[in-house]
Symmetry: D2
Subunit: 406 residues, 4 copies
Amino acid sequence: MKVFNDPVYGFIEVGNNFLLKLIDHRFFQKSRRIKQLGVTEFVYPGAVHTRFQHAMGAMHLMGKALNTLRSKGITISDKEKEACEIAILLHDIGHGPFSHSLEEVLMPGIEHESISYQFMLKLNEEFDGRLNLALKIFRNSYERKFFHELVSSQLDMDRLDYLIRDSYFTGVPEGSINVERLIQLLNVDEDRLVLEEKAIYVVENFLSARRLMYWQVYLHKTSIGAEKIITNIIKRARDLYSFGQKIPMSPALEYFFANKINIEQLSENEEAMDHFSKLDDTDIWGSIKIWRDNKDPILSHLCNMILERKLLKVRLSNEPIDKSELQRLKHQVTKKFNVLMSDTHYFMSHGPVTNEAYILGGKPINIITKKEGVKDIAYASDLPNIQAISKIVLKYYQCWPKGLTL
Amino acid sequence: MKVFNDPVYGFIEVGNNFLLKLIDHRFFQKSRRIKQLGVTEFVYPGAVHTRFQHAMGAMHLMGKALNTLRSKGITISDKEKEACEIAILLHDIGHGPFSHSLEEVLMPGIEHESISYQFMLKLNEEFDGRLNLALKIFRNSYERKFFHELVSSQLDMDRLDYLIRDSYFTGVPEGSINVERLIQLLNVDEDRLVLEEKAIYVVENFLSARRLMYWQVYLHKTSIGAEKIITNIIKRARDLYSFGQKIPMSPALEYFFANKINIEQLSENEEAMDHFSKLDDTDIWGSIKIWRDNKDPILSHLCNMILERKLLKVRLSNEPIDKSELQRLKHQVTKKFNVLMSDTHYFMSHGPVTNEAYILGGKPINIITKKEGVKDIAYASDLPNIQAISKIVLKYYQCWPKGLTL
Amino acid sequence: MKVFNDPVYGFIEVGNNFLLKLIDHRFFQKSRRIKQLGVTEFVYPGAVHTRFQHAMGAMHLMGKALNTLRSKGITISDKEKEACEIAILLHDIGHGPFSHSLEEVLMPGIEHESISYQFMLKLNEEFDGRLNLALKIFRNSYERKFFHELVSSQLDMDRLDYLIRDSYFTGVPEGSINVERLIQLLNVDEDRLVLEEKAIYVVENFLSARRLMYWQVYLHKTSIGAEKIITNIIKRARDLYSFGQKIPMSPALEYFFANKINIEQLSENEEAMDHFSKLDDTDIWGSIKIWRDNKDPILSHLCNMILERKLLKVRLSNEPIDKSELQRLKHQVTKKFNVLMSDTHYFMSHGPVTNEAYILGGKPINIITKKEGVKDIAYASDLPNIQAISKIVLKYYQCWPKGLTL
Amino acid sequence: MKVFNDPVYGFIEVGNNFLLKLIDHRFFQKSRRIKQLGVTEFVYPGAVHTRFQHAMGAMHLMGKALNTLRSKGITISDKEKEACEIAILLHDIGHGPFSHSLEEVLMPGIEHESISYQFMLKLNEEFDGRLNLALKIFRNSYERKFFHELVSSQLDMDRLDYLIRDSYFTGVPEGSINVERLIQLLNVDEDRLVLEEKAIYVVENFLSARRLMYWQVYLHKTSIGAEKIITNIIKRARDLYSFGQKIPMSPALEYFFANKINIEQLSENEEAMDHFSKLDDTDIWGSIKIWRDNKDPILSHLCNMILERKLLKVRLSNEPIDKSELQRLKHQVTKKFNVLMSDTHYFMSHGPVTNEAYILGGKPINIITKKEGVKDIAYASDLPNIQAISKIVLKYYQCWPKGLTL
């Protein structure tokens, strides 16, 4: 039995030796060097917690949830318990640095879930098939479907942990949720995960908290502005690199500039696996500090912006940006930074953001009621706000450098 | 007025534009990339908070303390207030990565306080003397001595913030202290900082918490083991470098491998200042990941140890290690790692650790009593434990690789 | 300056001597013996906090709110500040024991606000007119209307304090709200209290929390059941008393059994004022313990129910109870308790309950937006749930003794 | 399974039906009406928590402790578990109102533990011997001694719960202890309760917190002053009563004024048991409010003091009060209150107070060390402060009415 201190839950106890082995594996240890919320620390300085902590926390909640279900008479074998804990521990192992922002730049067209899967395959090989069941549960090919729902659904252990953890580290108390109560009210009905009827208000609270965290934290304007700078730095560096310029960077980062990865064979591509397993926040920050002195003025300027916290201005609105407005902004950028029209995109950005606090039509959060059986929370609640939460989701952001007039 | 969210205090409000400028300066922004507790995250995964947060928190407490003193009739000008806030904000700006462990390797013989001072001189130049008073207070050459005590003493805003913050992020509730109460009971007597008589128990509690945090966190055995690996990695790389081997690393790190810095002229040494202002945790971790594949087996092995969390075994004891025991360990190391006797030191370490929760004889924490005037807390308390805390401070650690027999 | 410890806010500092006098007045000290949430402790054992604490907390928030407004440039004189603090401190002074349940039994037709007002008049006399402005603000006859809104509106200091305090003492974290943030975002526009635009999510969170606390705490089924027993005990005792039976009880309680009070002249009715100022929870509990041995079997049985926690069964439904169902229940009661049909009402109860988390059409919570000026939060939010919260408010409860079949 | 909300632990789950029966028994329900800390609310307004909550909390910790011990391989039968939970649930059932202050006045010479025992005997009769083992454990006549230590020792579940709970409700964070960690480190060695070696700092912290709570809360000067008024009110009323004066009061209180109780036969004395089971805080407060108008000026004056919070002045000193000083005070009292010398004691009080944070020589808190086996914490710690805590324990208080000159 090994005990990990955790500021959110007090203690996380791990009694299973194989889990301890996975935790110490360098594939997982890498998550110590990837911040859960990327650039959010520029808005919430406390938000420097890592994917490592989050994965440990989610595994801890998984253990509690399974124990609760057992205490309610659901039979769960030790093998199934271990498999669930492995699946949730490793569910995010495929994240690279600044995940959602850089994913598309570093490995275009590949989602981190697929990479997680490839790494789990690799580990399964290394550990002689011990992850077989975890892989099944992760991919939802195991017949007892509620296990997968605990790993990945609209009320999975992933979301429970990150919501309460992000609230703790950002210092946004409105995002705090009653995890203990939610887990206590879990049950299983016909192999589906359900919540008891009296959970309605707690689930509503969870979804409101989630929606609020989206607008206050995950989609915070200033965060978006910082994120775009990071993305554009990497894009600029990659573009220079592809034109043959020599840019200093880590071998791992360079590998993904130089190669296009095929996800299907990733787990057999030793080189790619090795490089990806080394790629973390330090590669990005390490590069940015060096590139600040790069002779390319665009790259150098962008790096300076993030290092001196001269972030982009950001506007969120209900309508996409107007073409002519965009054109005017671009003109100003060409003058202010003395760049070509075709390079203005490094300094600006626009696009949609979506607040997916609850998705209707997907796999629902189910409430089991005495009178009416199992119902989607959106219809079990006496308020229309969950249905509303699931509709009003789309806004548009525009970022541009300070000093320009919109 | 700008508001920073902080998980420890809720909000940190900064109304002073010049402070905001300093905060956004890249010299200070660098502290976002230096963890307050270095490798402690290997024991307490939550402890990834940065020097940035800590400095902001200490500045916040400074503001509260000065307001308290003003409300008790102490005259404090706005200029003095700003100077104190600047001094505490920048007091740790001279820290490099993994400060206490690497200080001695990267800039031998130079303490971080001197470097902070040099950076403050540099900023003073940049901002036309606006830091003059802050510099005086920092160096304790201002006539109103209690200002310096708020910046640096046994009950300064630095210690108050880091104790409560380290407790919050490690999840060690015993380290939590009643900062609000301590500040509320501050006063000034003959230009000395004092605490009202009823603060005795709260100060005792503060010193016990501090002592406990030393043994449970700052001097945690596993932390020491991880720290030594980091130190030895850098030592080995530097030794290889000085023998002319080509080792990939960031320009900033290389600069300090290649040059011996003279502290007196640091603020005039543009190159050194620039490189130091870029040196942070990412340079160290970035190197470690690359050096894992280095052809030097010692360097490669050490890097692998930290990346796969195969930490050193550590023993704390009241006696220094016995010479013959040391010899036996070294012999085992030569065999296990196939290295020369003269290289065994990269795998082992031993030395003293001191728990300086309270130092008698230094500048005391003063209690102002009705009957007996101002007294050192060690003698104002009715318990001998503060005197005891100040005596029992020395232990000896020994680290060695797992698998050897002590 | 006197400092009160408060578990919710840490410290409550009172620097105004006149406020301290009011706090120590026996009219206000009585609130130490009235629980804020009456019988809720039968569901949430921690909820034994008193009206005293709540009034102190609301006064504390008032001070913070006024300081915030001052820092935003709103002129507020010291006299106005004191008046607001007095008004909120005393706003609930007219509460008797188990207020909402017994109000109607002890002083039919009189609301506690009117009684508070009468007590404030009385104190104003005692203190030579020092409460003049507080009285004006309390009655909303002062021209600067936002002061009254801080005392009494849908976002007044009363609600902010009781929500966070009730959450703290019940242990229902979902009811916790970000009081600090809400106060920080207050402002005044054309003498109305408004919130800045970025407060929208925090206000939404406040209203959701409030709605949740209604269903989870204030209207908790078991609480309703306990409350009805208390009410029916007092009703039965009063009915016996009015038929000339001698029932032991405190002089204060007996006074309100024997006399019908005229609210208009209450402050001139020394006797009534004196008795009311003594009436608190202990009169009710003291009587219940004695009446348990009363020879009237109905009274004795009801007292025993609450003393042995044999509470009523309660059902909440969307429809009022069916007449014939009610009749069946009454029949069962006559048999089980051997009572007349006309006495069954002591053992049962039914009626509406309303969850008034936010009332549309009343004085709104105003958001000041950049584009559209001042808007009701119900329309400023991008979700319909605040409008929904204000609609779905009515349920019906039915209580009946355990063992009967509905 | 019934779930109780608790603000300190979140949820308290009770799965045992017999425990639920005991909880609902009126002997135990009475503890809802006895505040854990008596008059402490006059200093810490939040401290209105009840003995009910505390007993529930202690039972909850007992369950956790026993589960921890089971997980470490200690065999504990379900019967033993239930017995321990009963014993701790009922350990304080013999407390009357304002226990430590009024014990000596209402039932001279009888300790509350003996009364608890008598009530447990009575319940054992009512429930046909189901409390047999609980009684054995409570009286320490069961052969497995560590069970009794969990109920009553220097680190029992009673102390753990009340320390953390008193800290929560008073708002004195220094009193907070790491209950989870302390329980996690419990073990059993040769039928003794022990703590693992790494618990040393946590136990030290527990003892420091306990000592601090003594001086800051339990022996707070203002509390002592309030307590003495309550005691003297009851003494004065009893003295008047014994001289044949008719004083209105509850039958339960009158019973103990009129009768001297013999502890040995208490459980067979139906009348005494019944009256004691009804005696709680409301009897005292109910009387005080009525006695305020009593024609006896001493009684009336004392009641008024507590109702208007005109508390006694209190001094704590290291020496007992000087005889001549006492005489001078008495003279002033005779003049100020126009009373006989022989009645001055109703207005003044003096005596010793002891801070028994840790008692050396009693049954120790044991630490099990690797090298030296089981050791008393006082000697296992590397600081002398636990030994010191156990020595410096005695102070003297003097109380006198405001306005007199000492």
